[in-house]
């Protein structure tokens, strides 16, 4: 997603939150590929990602009325998608669990409940810190981690922008949580 589309998404979600139904079709067209790409990079399983992306997109629209237009739209959307992916992964893991006799003696390959809770808290805190950054910073960080398309910039410029964005993210994290 390039900067123009990022701005368009911000504007469309603000219009949807305001109740402008005309913003629905373009918002859907813009959100569907983003949601699908993020779910794929998160779950690394096309079929599961498709399922999670559909659920997540429905949830994004369900919560569109709550969107605060003063906050950046993309981290908000990705937060909803990440949450949906996590839920789906948990559900799949639970379904894969065999009978108790077979499981006896085998260590659980997944994270422990404490680890899971810590990871969820960290993800939420990271999305929160990301949400407070300027849109160009969010764009650079998401492009770096594969959550959106890399902006059409020379590599050196992109690297500089990413450095600045990460510095500001660290600063935002320190302000919120005091450590890094």
């Amino acid at each position: 997603m390039d900067a123009a589309r990022y701005r368009e998404l911000q504007e469309l979600l603000a219009r949807l939150a305001d109740g402008d139904r005309a913003a629905f079709p373009p918002a859907f067209t813009l959100l569907w590929p983003v949601t699908r790409a993020f779910a794929r990079s998160y779950l690394r399983d096309d079929a599961a990602a498709e399922d999670a992306a559909q659920q997540a997109l429905v949830r994004v629209f369900l919560r569109a009325a709550e969107f605060d237009a003063s906050r950046p739209a993309l981290p908000w959307v990705l937060g909803v998608v990440a949450n949906e992916c996590r839920t789906l992964r948990r559900r799949t893991q639970r379904r894969r669990e065999g009978p108790l006799e077979q499981a006896e003696g085998r260590p659980d390959p997944g994270p422990s409940p404490e680890e899971g809770a810590t990871r969820r808290d960290l993800e939420r805190a990271a999305l929160d810190a990301l949400g407070g950054l300027p849109s160009a910073d969010v764009e650079a960080i998401l492009a770096h981690i594969g959550g959106m398309e890399r902006p059409d910039l020379p590599p050196a410029t992109f690297r500089k922008r990413l450095e600045r964005a990460l510095k500001r993210l660290r600063q935002a994290w320190r302000e919120r949580h005091g450590t890094l």
């Binding site: 305001d18 629905f24 859907f28 399922d51 997109l57 429905v58 949830r59 369900l62």
Partner: protein
């Protein structure tokens, strides 16, 4: 379960409308307290309940519809407070006489409160570039429904006074601010 894109669009659209409705219901829920309070002291509890039900329903509808209609809800409810509170405070007082002309103080509260509500709604409507008519209709209806239970103390004359006061308060502001 994967859906075709058309089915996903339809599902997302339904989710969007459902989300707006849920948000509107949560928003309007505290008004039930106001309705219960007015019904507890209104001279005609049935009227208070009917006005209150209409108030809650319209608030939900306007919030769900969004845009100018939703933006009219707060000003409408706030403008309804003077005609609700003034007659309520004056309901114990008997009459006020100027020379040989006497009238119920409660009625004065209805007309005065209605006029104040009219000025508040009219000023806000006049400051709008577009959607003035929808704003005036929505905010005016909510203001009148909010104030009506208190004005019912003075009977039909109280309600008529409220309506006249509102019209008297709105018209001059709208005329004065109308574009030349």
């Amino acid at each position: 379960m994967e859906l075709s894109e058309a089915a996903l669009v339809a599902r997302a659209r339904r989710a969007y409308e459902r989300g707006r409705l849920q948000a509107a219901l949560w928003w309007a829920a505290p008004l039930a307290l106001l309705v219960a309070w007015t019904a507890s002291w209104c001279r005609y509890p049935a009227l208070a309940v009917a006005c209150g039900a209409a108030l809650v329903l319209l608030t939900v509808a306007f919030r769900w519809r969004g845009q100018g209609w939703a933006r009219a809800v707060w000003p409408g409810l706030a403008a309804g407070l003077p005609p609700l509170v003034l007659p309520f405070l004056m309901r114990e007082a008997s009459q006020v006489c100027v020379g040989e002309v006497c009238c119920s103080l409660c009625l004065v509260g209805c007309v005065g409160g209605g006029a104040l509500a009219g000025v508040l709604v009219g000023r806000r409507a006049a400051s709008l570039g577009e959607g003035r008519g929808a704003f005036l209709a929505a905010a005016g209806t909510l203001a009148l429904l909010t104030g009506a239970p208190a004005c019912a103390f003075a009977g039909v004359i109280g309600l008529a006074g409220l309506l006249l006061g509102f019209a008297g308060g709105t018209a001059p502001v709208m005329i004065a601010r109308a574009p030349a």
